[in-house]
Amino acid sequence: MTRRLCARFDECRAAQRAALVTFVTAGDPDHATSLALVKALPEAGADVIELGMPFTDPMADGPAIQASGLRALKKGETLDRTLALVREFRKQDRATPIILMGYYNPIFIHGVGRFLDEAKAAGVDGLIVVDLPPEEDDELCLPALKAGLAFIRLATPTTDDKRLPKVLGNTAGFVYYVSITGITGAATPDFGAVAAAVSRIKRHTRLPVAVGFGVKTPEHAAEVAKAADAVVIGSSLVEAVRTSLDAQGNATPGTVGAVTSLVRNLAKGVASVRKAA
């Protein structure tokens, strides 16, 4: 079930570098531009695409991703259209893993069974649903695993050794370590503490460990790449979308390029760290 994810992490390991996971919000700044952007990400250096499903009340996200989701909703993005975006992307790219990231309510309202069927058929590889801790696994995690989709769990600085096995239990694909206590795009993490946390998690699992939250620049990405198997960048990419827009908040000819040039630099930062194969 995690075929595409496993293959991609294997490739990166063989190339002796960490993977770059890029987050953008589906439908931001509008559906067509968002599709063009997602299509352009792999060539720019994204190894895994994390696609945000916009939600009105993203409780774990900072201002950048909140604003990005609201832009998408304003332009009429829905869960159906997000799945359609993945289907379109899959017509040109069968290899790059796509992870849908979001909050539970839109999925719950869509219907869990229907959502999983459609996501799987569209070519989604995994899910990150922020407000579903292991205590609520029977809601979506277990059905997702059964449907052949990876359920990627967040581990955080508050997840102690006693709790880690519970968090890692039904996790598949990779583990996402949240580098700070806080919201996306907030404080810059303490890279020493991140390295220690990654080794702590690796004592409990053989899954690749990705690190995100607060990672903004190619230099940050390189620091994280020293310790982690993958680096997740989100807020700075959606900020690049925002700053490329015109005064009315519409996409400009520079929107896709603004993001891909940033991704190219981040990919260089990640690749600058040579890792053991």
Binding site: D57, M59, L79, D80, F108, V130, T156, G182
Partner: protein, 407 residues
């Protein structure tokens, strides 16, 4: 979802997963999960400790001023010509509403847990004022998140919070009301996990909040039971309370849930009217979903995006409701009604003129339904209305609305 089997008791919830039937739960980010579990343990520990109870009782009596009176509203009763109406005077509590009952419990718990910084969300500002008050009393740092729209329409409470030494953060995101204040408080909590205690103001949020807040508010219903026995020698026949998140209602209702002869009404805010879509009545006009840590009835669009609520009353302006209410609704134990802005305004003026009591706009929603239910009932029917807060904070807003009409 709405299939709820009739339980042996309506007072046994929640289960160990924090569920009331299908509602409730712990839908929070992993960062918060260990904190929520910690809180659950600390609360269980405090609940079993007689010293905690004794300290609560001491402060409830001497600082809050409990018990609050159960007052026979003689002129309102005569005016409506039906049921005998008693008002549970929560508006006489220190800080002017029922909110202080819960805040006292949570602040004493925060102290036990060694937390030094308190955060809270507030709509009308009543919970914010109660939190700021107890933080001042115990020397704790206090940050209150309040939607920017509410900061504007509930200015007197913002000024009070400042005087009590709290920081009030106007929330500019989303609809800039209570729901967004909750989002922002959760974002603060996820960031400041070590020293911060999140003092939630209503019977919502992740388990154990709905249970814990209910327990702290049950003092309302427990007192009513004893006071009604003293006044009339029996149980009341009906109870009625307004509902935003539903904490004053749950506190009044819970001790009576297993008394089948007691009829119970909750009143949601119908804003401009349910049919306009501009309202805050999640049970009447919403459906089950997941937000702010729990599954409950929510106002949302067909794609699961949360709609903005609309109510004249900032305290009811929330697109959700406590999960225990959602369960009691589906189980049919409590009847949920609604009242519009106009009906609440009329009730606000009626109580002021007949009884010399200016009610909060929130409580005026319950009174609005009393106005049409009471006249149809016999004179020996005993009805208890929760007067959850006083209307001082609403005086400028109501004056402005009424002035516009006469000019």
């Amino acid at each position: 979802m709405s299939v709820v089997t009739k339980p042996n008791s309506f007072r046994s919830g929640p289960d160990e997963r924090g569920r009331f039937g299908p509602f409730g739960g712990r839908f929070v980010a992993e960062t918060l999960m260990p904190l929520v579990l910690d809180l659950e343990r600390a609360y269980a520990d405090a609940k079993a400790d007689p010293d905690f109870r004794a300290e609560m009782d001491r402060f409830l009596a001497h600082y809050v001023g409990r018990p609050s009176p159960l007052y026979f509203a003689e002129r309102l009763t005569a005016h409506l010509g039906g049921a005998k109406i008693y008002l549970k005077r929560e508006e006489l509590n220190h800080t002017g509403s029922h909110k202080v009952n819960n805040v006292l419990g949570q602040i004493l718990l925060a102290r036990r847990m060694g937390k030094t910084r308190i955060i809270a969300e507030t709509g009308a500002g009543q919970h914010g004022v109660a939190t700021a008050t107890l933080c001042a009393r115990f020397g704790l740092e206090c940050v209150v998140y309040m939607g920017a729209v509410d900061v504007e329409r509930q200015k007197p409470n913002v000024i009070r919070m400042h005087m009590l030494g709290a920081e009030v953060v106007p929330v500019q995101s989303g609809s800039r009301t209570l729901k967004d204040a909750l989002n922002e408080a959760l974002r603060d909590w996820v960031t400041n996990v070590a020293d911060t205690f999140y003092c939630i103001g209503t019977v919502a949020g992740p388990h154990p909040y709905p249970m814990m807040v209910r327990d702290f508010q049950c003092v309302i219903g427990d007192e009513v039971r004893a006071q009604m026995r003293e006044a009339e020698g029996r149980l009341p026949d009906s109870l009625i309370a307004c509902i935003g998140g539903g904490s004053n209602a749950m506190g009044l209702f819970h001790p009576f849930l297993d008394e089948p002869e007691v009829v119970i009404y909750g009143v949601e805010a119908a804003g401009h009217g349910i049919s306009t879509g501009l309202h805050a009545a999640s049970l009447t006009g919403g459906r089950p979903g997941v937000l702010h840590g729990n599954r409950t009835y929510l106002l949302m669009n067909g794609d699961g995006q949360i709609n903005e609520a609309h109510s004249i009353s900032a305290g009811l302006d929330y697109p959700g409701i406590g999960p225990e209410h959602a369960w009691l609704h589906d189980a049919g134990r409590v009847t949920y009604l609604s009242a519009t802005d106009e009906e609440a305004l009329a009730a606000f003026q009626l109580l002021s003129k007949l009884e010399g009591i200016i009610p909060a706009l929130e409580a005026a929603h319950a009174l609005a339904r009393v106005i049409d239910i009471a006249p149809k009932l016999p004179r020996d029917h005993l009805m208890v209305v929760s007067l959850s807060g006083r209307g001082d904070k609403d005086v400028p807003q109501v004056a402005e609305i009424l002035e516009k009409r006469t000019s």
